[in-house]
Symmetry: C2
Subunit: 354 residues, 2 copies
C-alpha cells in the first residue's frame, strides 16, 4: 500500500561525498525546481523549447548530482534500445578482432552501444547466446561467428527467425538467406585470382588446408583456387580438412609433411591464421618456407606481414566488412558497398626457379 512517492516525500539526495544510488531525473528536477518533463527535455529530449534560464538550472543540477540518464529506463520508455549485438567465435582471433573494430567504429558514429558475445565455435552455445541477446532487444544482431555451416544450426535459426519476426534485424556473413541481410565477401573470385597468380609464378603442385566440407567460406575459397589453378595446368594434390584455427593449420601441415611434400609445392591455407600454423609446422619439420615449400593464405590479418618470409595472401578489408555489417544493421535502405579483395604477393611464394 505504498503511496506514490511525491517529490515532497522522497528523501533528498545525499551529499556529494556519500556513496549511494545513482540520482534519477526526479532528483535533478527537484534540485532544479522544475518538473520532470522539463528536466527530461533539457537533458535528453529533442532540443529546443526550453527557456534558457530553466535549461541552465537543470544542467547545473544535473552536473552537481552527477546525473546520467538510465539507459534501461529510456529503452523501455522509448520502446527501443541503443544496442547492437555482435556475435563472434573468438574475439582474440585477429580476423574477428578486425571485424569487431569496424563494427565498433560504426556504432560509435551512431551513438550506439555494442554488446559482444563469444560462441567459441560451439553451436549449442551460439543458440543460447542468441536467445540471451534477444532479451536486450538490440536494434540489430551481427552474426560474424557463423563461418560454420551454410545453413545455421536449427536451434539458432529458430531464435534468429523469432528475433526478426519481432522486428530485429540480423546481419549474417555469407550467401543470401530469407529476410535477413547478408555481407558477401567474394571469396571465390579472390581465391581464383590467387590461384591464377600462383600458377603464373610457376607453381604446379598445391595442397590445400581447408575447413570442414560444407563450410561455405572454405568451400568457396577452395573451389575458386582450384578452378583457376587447375585451369592453368596446376594440380591440387590433396585437401586436408580442419577448421579456421591456427592449430588446425599446424596439424594439417604435419599430416601433409608426414606423407611427404615435394620441394616446390605450394600450400594454400584457407585463412591466414591457418597459414601461420602451417608455417610453424613447416619450420618445425626443418623445411624452409618459400623456395622449398611455398605458402599462401587468405584474409591478410596484421600478423601476415610480420612473419618472415611474409605471407602471400588475399587482402579482405576486414574492418570495412565489420563497418558494412554495422550499416546493414541500422540503415533503412541498404546496399552493400563493394568490398574489393586484392591479392598481396609476398615472400612466402617466390617465383619458381628464381
Amino acid at each position: 500500500m505504498t503511496k506514490p512517492a511525491t517529490s515532497a516525500e522522497r528523501p533528498a539526495r545525499s551529499p556529494r561525498h556519500v556513496r549511494g544510488p545513482a540520482p534519477t531525473l526526479h532528483d535533478v528536477a527537484r534540485e532544479a525546481g522544475v518538473s520532470l518533463a522539463t528536466a527530461s527535455r533539457v537533458l535528453n529530449g529533442s532540443e529546443r523549447k526550453v527557456a534558457e534560464s530553466f535549461r541552465e538550472r537543470v544542467e547545473s543540477a544535473a552536473g552537481k548530482l552527477g546525473y546520467t540518464a538510465n539507459v534501461s529506463a529510456q529503452s523501455i520508455a522509448k520502446g527501443t534500445s541503443p544496442v547492437i549485438a555482435l556475435l563472434v567465435a573468438d574475439i582474440a582471433d585477429p580476423y574477428f578482432g578486425q571485424i569487431a573494430s569496424g563494427v565498433a567504429r560504426g556504432a560509435d558514429e551512431e551513438g550506439l552501444v555494442v554488446t559482444i558475445a563469444i560462441t567459441e565455435r560451439d553451436q549449442a552455445r551460439e543458440a543460447r547466446i542468441v536467445r540471451a541477446l534477444r532479451g536486450q532487444r538490440p536494434r540489430g544482431l551481427i552474426l560474424a561467428a557463423s563461418r560454420t555451416q551454410e545453413a545455421t544450426e536449427a536451434e539458432t535459426a529458430h531464435e534468429l527467425a523469432e528475433f526478426v519476426r519481432q522486428g530485429g534485424r540480423v546481419v549474417a556473413f555469407g550467401p543470401d538467406g530469407e529476410g535477413e541481410r547478408h555481407i558477401e565477401i567474394d571469396n571465390r573470385s579472390g581465391a581464383e585470382a590467387l590461384g591464377r597468380l600462383m600458377a603464373e609464378r610457376g607453381y604446379r603442385r598445391a595442397i590445400v588446408l581447408g575447413a570442414a566440407d560444407g563450410v561455405r567460406t572454405s568451400d568457396d575459397r577452395l573451389v575458386g583456387f582450384r578452378a583457376s589453378f587447375e585451369q592453368a595446368g596446376g594440380v591440387v594434390e590433396s585437401v586436408h580438412r580442419g577448421d579456421f584455427r591456427r592449430e588446425s593449420g599446424a596439424a594439417g601441415m604435419r599430416a601433409a609433411l608426414d606423407r611427404g611434400v615435394e620441394a616446390g609445392t605450394l600450400v594454400f591455407a584457407i585463412s591466414d591464421v591457418v597459414a601461420l600454423g602451417a608455417m610453424s609446422a613447416i619450420r618445425d619439420a626443418g623445411r624452409e618456407i618459400g623456395t622449398d615449400i611455398a605458402v599462401c593464405g587468405f584474409d591478410d590479418v596484421p600478423a601476415s606481414s610480420d612473419v618472415s618470409p611474409a605471407l602471400t595472401t588475399v587482402r579482405v578489408p576486414l574492418s570495412d566488412v565489420g563497418y558494412q555489417a554495422f550499416r546493414a544493421t541500422v540503415d533503412v535502405e541498404w546496399v552493400q558497398a563493394p568490398l574489393p579483395l586484392e591479392v598481396i604477393v609476398r615472400a612466402s611464394t617466390p617465383m619458381v626457379g628464381s
Copy 2:
C-alpha cells in the same frame, strides 16, 4: 486520458507468422491464463513456489509466443543490470583482444553481458565514453585502455569517481588508486628477469623502444630492464619514445638505424606489437634480426611465436588478466590471483658469439 490497458482490452497477440513487437510477460500470462506474477515467477523469479500445472502452461505459452524477458525492463525493476563494460584502446590489437577474451569468459560464467567500447587512445573520447557507459548502470567497468598516464585524465577520473560513488565498481590496470580495484602486472620484475637473461646471453648494448615518459607500464618495464641489464654490466644506449603501436616501433627503429646501430645490439621494445614493428624496420633496412640486431619484446601476443626469427619476450597471461579483471568487478571479496610472468627466449636473441 488513456485508461490503463487491462488484459481484456489489449489486442491479442498476432499469429506467429506476422511480424510485430516482441511479446511481453503480459502476453504470456494471458495466453497461459495466469497472472502476471505467476508468469514472472516461473519464467524468471527465484525458483520454487509454482504448481507444476501452471508452470507447464506458462512455459508452453512462452515457447509458443517466442517470449524472452526484456532485459531493460528487468534491470529497472530490479534496480541492477547484468552488464559489465569493457573499455579498450583498440579491439583489433592482440593485446586487448586477449584481455577481452578473458573478460568475456568470466562474464559468460556469471551470465553477464559485456559491452565494449573503444577509446582509440584518445583521452577526450575516453571521458565521453565512460560517461555514456555510466548510463548503462553496469555492475562494473573495466578500464583496460589506460596504459596511458599514471593518473587518468581529470575528466575521466571525475566520471569514474561519480560512477563509484553511485555504487559501481571500476577495475583499472596499474598501481593502486583510491577506492578502486586494480590489476597489477609486475612489469618491473618481468623486465628485470628479461634484462638479466639478456645480459647472461652476452648482450652488452641495448636500445629501448618505449612509450612516452610517464606512461606507467612503459616506465616500469624500462626501469626494470635497465636495472638488471646495467647491473650485469650492460648499457642502455638510448631510449626512443613513442607509444604502444606497431608503427611506433617501426618509426623508433628507423630513427635508431639512421643514427647507426652496431651489430650485436639488443633492441628491447616495450611491447611485442612494438617489437614487431621494429623487426619490420630492421628487415626493411636490410639488416638481419638475431645475430646482427637482436630484438625482444613484452606480452607474448600470439604473433610473437609466428614471426621468424620468433620473438623473445616476457609472457603475460593476458587472458587470465582479463579474467581476473572481471572477477574483481563482480566478487565481493577479492584478492588478485597471481599473474606469473615468464621470460620466453626465442630465436630473436641468440647467444652472443654463437
